[in-house]
Subunit: 180 residues, 2 copies
């Protein structure tokens, strides 16, 4: 089952506004707390998404088109946001994500990809051969995996406050399989 | 750990805009498909949230304040949206959710709840004694459990399209523990 590029782009286009609505006006209880040591807060997650826009999705798409399978992708640095988000506020990160996402979608649109382009193959350093179609579908699913993680990290802050209702709240039973 | 009512209300106030940004402009691939038979689509989930606004959260809060533990809550109908959403479009449901949530928050604000009110107890038909504080915290966490479910239902639509990247996408390993 191939992705539909129009569906992928619609989802990618909406994520900055979704995160903005979800996070911008919230107190730090929701945005700066994590699930414990070595886990991410909402602030960290937005930083991670920005880093992906800069170094992962479009750079890899262009690499597939230019080099095919002859050159493996650079590994993705999952901790870069610790460095890059330093000294910034959450609203600044949300604005930055909005901007880089819009630039990337503009660039993607300009490529005017056809079915035969989507079938082109590249080389992932850990996963082996992948297609451009899979890369772009993963870009969208990666937004969703972090929305999934965000809802879990936020719900974790109310784990005790909900009392016996925790039995009915599926998100509190999620085991943190949302590593990027 | 008690909830902070200001944090709870900030989260509750933002959810309609979050769902609007996430869902309103998306193709039906993302909004009308579920995870399989007897599971919910995004459309179903928004209907469920509307039903909760009408019959669950504020009615139960007022019942605690009026009757305390002397009268158990009405059980919540988790399938009501099948009936109530019929013939409606997703944008209609999103507008309706926005409206009923705003009305409920206005009513909650007007109650001007104090710490001693939050400690008041009610009777849940399955869980037993619960406090008003726990009920209100659960209202917020319930939004998050359905955001968690939404991201999972949507990601499920790209389970095959992402190819080998499924190994890295936590949301695809989530086992659907998000039953309401």
């Amino acid at each position: 089952m191939q992705q539909n590029l129009r569906d992928t782009m619609a989802l990618l286009a909406g994520t900055p506004a979704t995160l903005n609505a979800l996070l911008r006006d919230l107190p730090e209880t929701w945005t700066q707390r994590s699930e414990g040591e070595n886990t991410w807060s909402a602030f960290d997650i937005v930083g991670h998404l920005i880093h992906g826009e800069r170094t992962d999705w479009m750079p890899r798409a262009k690499q597939i088109l230019q080099y095919g399978e002859s050159k493996a992708f650079e590994p993705f640095d999952r901790l870069a946001q610790e460095r890059e988000s330093q000294g910034k506020t959450l609203p600044q990160l949300l604005d930055e994500f909005s901007r880089v996402r819009a630039e990337n979608l503009q660039e993607l649109r300009a490529l005017n990809l056809q079915e035969r382009d989507l079938a082109r193959r590249g080389l992932h350093p850990a996963l082996g051969v992948v297609t451009l179609s899979q890369l772009l579908a993963t870009w969208a699913a990666h937004d969703l995996t972090h929305l999934h993680q965000l809802s879990r990290v936020m719900a974790h802050q109310y784990r005790e406050a909900v009392g016996p209702w925790s039995a009915f709240l599926g998100v509190l039973r999620c085991e943190g399989h949302s590593a990027p």
